[in-house]
Amino acid sequence: MNSRFLPLLATVAIFILAYAVCYAQFPAMLSTRVIGNLFTDNAFLGIIAVGMTFVIISGGIDLSVGSVIAFSGVFISVMLRDTGLHPIPVFAVLLLITTLFGAAMGATIHFLEMPAFIVTLAGMFLARGMAYVLSIDSVPITHDFYSAIQSFYWLMPGKGRLTFIGGLMLVVFIAGMLVAHRTRFGTNVYALGGGTHTAQLMGVPVARTTIAIYALSGFLAGLSGIVFSIYTSAGYSLATVGVELDAIAAVVIGGTLLTGGSGFIAGTLIGVLIMGLIQIYIIFDGTLSSWWTKIVVGMLLFAFIVLQKGLVWFTGRNRASAAGTS
């Protein structure tokens, strides 16, 4: 058994267990309606979590994504209100901006040898600030294109609705998995997480990869901003405060090592779903405060950190004993 898969297995086991508990209490939760909602409600979180997974596997962190989502929403709504452009060119311009924004952060991290934490923290303030500059108030979006997208869905068996944004999230996850495991870029991301210096010696283009990783995260944050604007039909500069931390939590619960080098995009999907499931459970229950979500997520995070530490310790000890006997 490859120890790399253990955190992923633990995540899957927790998800199945959690769903079983939910089902035992509220049989209605095992339906495609609930699953459809799970995807729709967490689409924006899932999309940035894919980018965050790449960033964390490479040994970095991206704190700017929550602010970028808010900026994206405000940018789209203000552009649609003031210019009369069709949403599609607006989306294109937005994605270009957020991708370049991410690339600039990646370049700063690499060339100035700054910790990702500080650079993306600056990016977080910058993006939030730009959102305020564009508009302080919540700007509603009323475009036919938006209504069309919002009413578009695929009816799953059991009358559950897979909405456009839910489907988009799944597409992003599948694309993320392919990129992570089937491209040289993906392997390079893991290589960076294993050790930048060694990766460089082995011929990994460290600068290009680092910039690409944060550009990807910026692109996905922009995409997530589009999804969030479709989800809420508005752009508001105070939206999605702290969502970057939810994304980090989902990545870690999904079994990715926070120190980098190890993890799976698929695990992140499960991580997002676990967090969504807790919320749905609280809604079903009806008496619990929504803050219980935070408490349970906190406990899960803690459990995963302990699990990861335990694994690292265990494999380290295994190796030591193997070396001792050889």
Partner: protein, 508 residues
Amino acid sequence: MSEVANSRPLLRATGVTKIFPGTVALDHVDFTLQPAEVHALLGENGAGKSTLIKCLTGAYRRDDGDILLNGEPVDPRGTLDAQSYGIGTVYQEVNLLPNLSVAENLFLGHQPTRFGMISGREMTRRARETLSQYGLDIDPARSLGDFSVAVQQVIAIARAVNLSGKVLILDEPTASLDSGEVKMLFDIIRSLRDRGIGIIFISHFLDQVFEISDRVTVLRNGRLIGTEDAANIDRVQLVNMMLGRELEHETRETGKTDLAPGAPWLEFDDFGKKGRIAPFDLKIRPGEVVGMAGLLGSGRTETAETLFGAVTHDSGTARSRGEEIELRSPRDAVAAGFGFCPEDRKIDGIIADLSVRENIILALQARIGWARPVPRRRQAEMAEDFIRRLDIRTSDAEKPVGLLSGGNQQKVLLARWLATNPKFLILDEPTRGIDVGAHAEIIHLIEELCAEGMSLLVISSELDELVAYSHRVIVVRDRHHVAELVGADITTDNMVDAIASAHNGSAT
């Protein structure tokens, strides 16, 4: 130049010069490598071996000189560039990524792709094929980190040969391998040589150099001393080339016959720890050097750790000058006047990012308590004093220890314990991984310390060395103290006999 003229040299470097601020690291060094030869590169630390390698692989820009590969001038601009010319390097610390799979490590940057996607199956197949050439039957999909250092080393070699395939540079590949693994590695090196690859082999172990090398090139202080056929040169000549002086201690045949005077001041009775070292008796006299010989894992280090309280003993008693003392933790041991330089100085010993001064002061500060800091001026004085006394080669006391050479790091570690004025100092492999010159200095230092009345327990794999300084030698085998040799009985032969006969005993 060598008399091997029948084939054109694979790699020829002439007049390679590298100047660092303040020093000439390489001074017009010539070097040739024939195809299908193992060419050992020898020299003390700081002789210029690594600098030469780095110039050949482009990690450093050389200031002068030419490099010809197959007669063509080449000018690699970095490790990767060198690789594309056909020059691959494997370093002592395996430079692979433990979190990636074996196959990914082999093919990183060169993965087989289909339609732009990595073909995992093809990569695994090719990895298996490559590994089987090296006699490894392992699952290439598993993480590299799951395997032993020896296997990782072989994978690193396989990668280097795959990607370059003309010249293979092995920088101290055997430093962290045991003898079985070294043998496996040498078989691989020989088979690569027979395939026509030129191999540059750097090692501190002279025996290994003689075992594997066809030719030997010696550098000293950045200058070429000479290139010789390994068959035409013996150990003494080689050491002479490296050091330019006779190594006095190698000439001594038996241990010190003059027993240290006085009654034992430290007495351990029935001292032991279940599962680590069987109970033993040990008496230590003032000014005595007790050597400890045995194979790796025989219980040498375990003895030291138990004595120092790093592992708490579960049987027996310790007495100092007739009075029973507690030895349950390193703290107790330090309070009793013990000092301990552990085997792996990188892990257990020095703190690489702290300065020489801070490293020296550490144990003393711990002993007197953190609430009473040693005054800065006093620290500086002590550091300067030890740098002078132990001849620690550093530009100043504030230099991070990590930048010093291995031998000098060892001296800093020694200075740390000497600063606490220990009465009993345990040294675990004090000369491992340091060059021959520093080696001799450390041995000299050990003799000086015991002349000052300090008692030492020295663990070493180098039996010659034990002969040189020990009053008594304890032989350890299978976690038991099996023999004690005194005075004229201390010879390498006797020690080998004690270790070997014990092994025969356990086999029958």
